[in-house]
């Protein structure tokens, strides 16, 4: 028997709708199968169905799942408990919340051993420590007694992997295990999984939305869309010669090539410049005394942004890049100089700064948090115009202006009367862009505007942003953690690390000839698509 796991004609339903229909795939021993798809494609549900941990209200109606010729649907709950953890291990997307916060990590791993294996107590701890060693957790002896909040995200994911591997399962299901991690950590975790797969001859079902990650780790790819498997193929075949249009779209979007940037020859005028910007946060002590801790979120950075250009500010989480955005909008106290055009806007009071607010605007990361759920789209767009006195006052002219704005971001005019919660993430992000555009700003700060979106939506938003830039000549400060995105969107790039800019320059120079070691690490960590990818010759 060559197959570790077989899923056959799996169909999952709620009372109202079918979520997953007729999904079939096989997982060979020692192989890694990637389950790829956008959000809502049913890939995570499929994984949970294998574990029989489906959320309440979702149930399988037909199909079969076999673990080495044993049908899992025939097993009782008690028998299934012996499969979970012992024969199939699973790791999840959010390492932050997937570990029990009040139990030390060593105990959480030991628990798996205790329930599945008859190992003497004394030996269990040693086993856990050797597992920690295997997943390259530093100082495994000490880490045994640590609690999840004391570990970094990557370390927590290592603990999860150790937990999943503790009973030497045949199959490991990894549900977006690296999505919540920084690129450098992602690279480490992927390398770890790769190594374990080899040494343990483990079968891995890897669920992800990221084609680049797929190309690095998978042997076989199953592409899912809206609950159906649309294509499955060996990884090199699929990347070279995808047949289904959705797969092609995925690959096309992942490569990020549709945006060709015209290279500016002569230097455009500067619209925004920042000198020695510093933002320090003081942690307030309790009522009396306590020495105040100072966090240097942004520690003296210089930036220059030219008209009609895009400056990408790249950094990992905690590097202070979002704080820069807040400082530029004068939403946090800062030191240093900021010039908008030739006017010095730093050191102005709120009242003096208000007329300048319309010239610098922002687009946010989370499309669900950035629009007030209790307001109509029309009111959301109007808010800034009314506050800062931009656009026509006359009611009809204003209405026409708002309609024009929606047209600009490719949304139907009828949306003006509707509420934000009726729209998808991509549509909301367009509304967010329209809200910033309403003020005709010179600079728009884009704070990770695409990182919460599906790949296909992401490329649409990026294309929209580019079109707007060409039409209006607005300058973008594009904040992102995704170095892979940079060549397709930016003219200049600044790499940020712990509040400081370590490298800055034209995109081509930084991406191909990085001078700083941190940039090099970042670049090396970015998962790369294979060279033989479909449609390469289009460029």
């Amino acid at each position: 028997m060559n197959h570790a796991l077989v899923v056959e004609g799996l169909t999952l339903r709620t009372k109202k709708q079918t979520l997953v229909e007729n999904v079939c795939f096989e997982l060979k021993r020692g192989e890694c199968v990637a389950l790829v798809g956008g959000s809502g494609s049913g890939k995570s549900l499929t994984a949970l169905a294998i574990m029989q941990l489906l959320p309440q209200g979702v149930y399988p109606v037909s199909g079969d799942i076999r673990l080495e010729s044993r049908s899992l649907f025939d097993l009782s709950e008690r028998q299934m408990q012996h499969i979970r953890g012992e024969r199939i291990g699973m790791i999840f997307q959010e390492p932050m919340s997937a570990l029990n916060p009040v139990v030390c990590v060593g105990e959480q791993v030991a628990e798996v051993l205790r329930i599945h294996k008859a190992i003497p107590k004394a030996e269990i701890k040693a086993r856990v420590i050797s597992l920690f060693d295997e997943v390259a957790l530093p100082e495994p002896h000490e880490r045994y007694g640590w609690y999840p909040h004391q570990l970094s995200g990557g370390q927590k994911q290592r603990v999860m992997i150790a937990m999943a591997l503790a009973c030497e399962p045949d199959v490991l299901i990894a549900d977006e295990p690296t999505t919540a991690l920084d690129v450098t950590v992602q690279a480490q975790v992927l390398a770890l999984l790769e190594k374990i797969k080899r040494t343990r001859k483990l079968s891995i079902l890897f669920i992800t939305h990221d084609m680049a990650v797929v190309s690095q780790i998978a042997d076989h790819v199953v592409v899912m869309q809206k609950g159906h498997v649309v294509e499955q193929e060996a990884v090199d075949v699929l990347f070279r010669d995808p047949t289904h249009p959705y797969t092609r779209q995925l690959l096309y979007d992942a490569s990020g090539r549709m945006i060709k940037r015209s290279v500016h020859e002569q230097k455009a005028p500067t619209v925004l410049s920042v000198e020695a910007l510093r933002v320090y946060f003081e942690k307030r002590g309790m009522l009396w005394g306590m020495k105040r801790e100072v966090t240097k979120a942004v520690d003296g950075i210089d930036l220059t942004l030219c008209r009609g250009e895009t400056l990408a500010l790249v950094g990992e989480s905690g590097s202070g890049k979002s704080t820069v955005a807040k400082a530029l909008l004068a939403l946090v106290p800062f030191q240093g100089e900021i010039y908008l055009g030739s006017t010095r806007i730093s050191g102005m009071g709120e009242r003096a700064f208000k007329p300048f607010r319309k010239r610098i605007q922002m687009i946010f990361q989370d499309p669900f948090a950035s629009l007030d759920p209790r307001m109509r789209i029309g009111d959301i767009l109007k808010e800034g115009m009314e506050s800062l006195g931009v656009g026509p006052r006359d009611k009809e002219a204003q209405y026409a202006y708002l309609q024009e704005l929606l047209r600009q971001v490719e949304l139907p005019e009828s949306y003006l009367e509707r509420y934000a919660h009726e729209f998808s993430g991509g549509e909301r992000q367009r509304i967010g862009i329209a809200r910033a555009l309403a003020l005709k700003p010179e600079v728009i700060i884009c704070d990770e505007p695409t990182s919460a979106l599906d790949v296909s939506v992401r490329s649409q938003i990026l294309a929209l942003l580019k079109r707007i830039q060409e039409e209006t000549g607005v300058a973008y400060l594009f904040i992102t953690h995704d170095l892979a995105l940079v060549p397709s969107i930016a003219d200049e790039v600044a790499v940020m690390c712990r509040g400081k800019i370590v490298e800055q320059g034209r995109v081509k120079r930084v991406m191909y000839y990085p001078s700083h070691s941190y940039t090099r690490t970042l670049l090396a960590a970015v998962p790369k698509l294979p060279d033989f990818i479909y449609g390469k010759e289009d460029i």
């Binding site: 807040k326 946010f364 007030d372 209790r374 307001m375 808010e383 506050s387």
Partner: protein
Amino acid sequence: MSLHLLLTDILLWSLMIGGMAWGVYMRKAKAGLEAWRDIFRSPVAMVSAVILLFYLAFALLDSVHFKVNDPHRSDSGSVISLLDMAMQHRRTFSERTYSAPFATQEYTRSVVVDKKGVTHQSFLPLKHVSPEGFWQKSMWGMGVGIALALLLIFLHRRWLRGGHERGEPLPWRSAYMTFAILTVLFSWLYVMSFSFHVLGTDKVGGDLFYASLKSIRTGMLIGTLTTLVTLPLALVLGVSAGYFRGWVDDLIQYLYTTLSSIPGVLLIAAGVLTMQVMMDQHPDWFATTVERADIRLLFLVVILGVTSWTGLCRMLRAETLRISQMDYVTAAKAFGVNSWQIMWRHIVPNLTHIILISIVLDFSGLVLAEAVLSYVGVGVDPTMYSWGNMINQARLEMARDPMVWWSLFSAFIFMFVLVLAANLFSDRVQHVLDPRNVS
């Protein structure tokens, strides 16, 4: 007779009008309307709402007061409400002492001297009871009830068909059933109350059906008006603490920690005692006992409000802290919108679910608290009809042998139905509005 609205009447009616205005305003907002329809989609919520409205109708009926100016009437100069007028036959004529529900005689024997001069003990007949034709009257009472219920249900159906029914149909059938049962039951009791003391009489011969109906207003007033005090306090302080932080937050936190550290009943007791002494020192403030009781009720409501805003305030502060971190607030700041407008436009509307949940949740608690406070002696005026006062009296009656159970029973039924309906309704409101229940 001339209209003579008490202070609490005015407050209750303005609260009603305010609530309705808010409802009309909410009809425009689609999202809010959807949530409300969602609440009423549950038959249990529908039934509870009908019961609550029934109680509310009595409270409102009892909140339109008139002053009797007619010198020919025995009660000239007193202040009576619409409900009093409807129950005139049970308000003015009372028996001598206890009598059981539907009884024709007094509950205890009295010493009687008959014509021959022999003294013996016997049960005296009740003065204001006419036992003949029990079934006829019952049929008549229920018939009127059925006719009235059918008529109103028919009218409502016509209205619905006239294009007011939108989207998924609501469980009207349960609402109609409840409404019909309540109407028939009440009309039967009402018709019978002309001939009997349907729930018996108390120690001094007062009719308990009348007393229970009068108590509705007291309970409802305490349950609703207290909100008028807590809400502004909790909202203003909670939102300012959460939004401005820093020393404002410290000060407000200090304020509510201090207040909530005092045991609730004691603080209320201290407040009420203070008020009582003050009212005793100024007997000239009040023209009638009704007004005196009314002011006392109002004071009680204020004291209850001042002592119970801290919980809501704490919740609103936490939620404001969360909301002011949201990107849409950041966006508004980037637009240069000032703090007051941000609070008014972005924060307060997003707190409505918490406010609503806490209003309906507190309502039943306050109705129950009234009973306890009246028992402790810091509740409503002893002359005022309230379930708390009824229970307080019943406590001694239970010790009698044989027991006088009906006044406790009346208070129990009236209170239980109201509080149960309120609890079930608040459950549903919480289920629908609490974002944590989305999954």
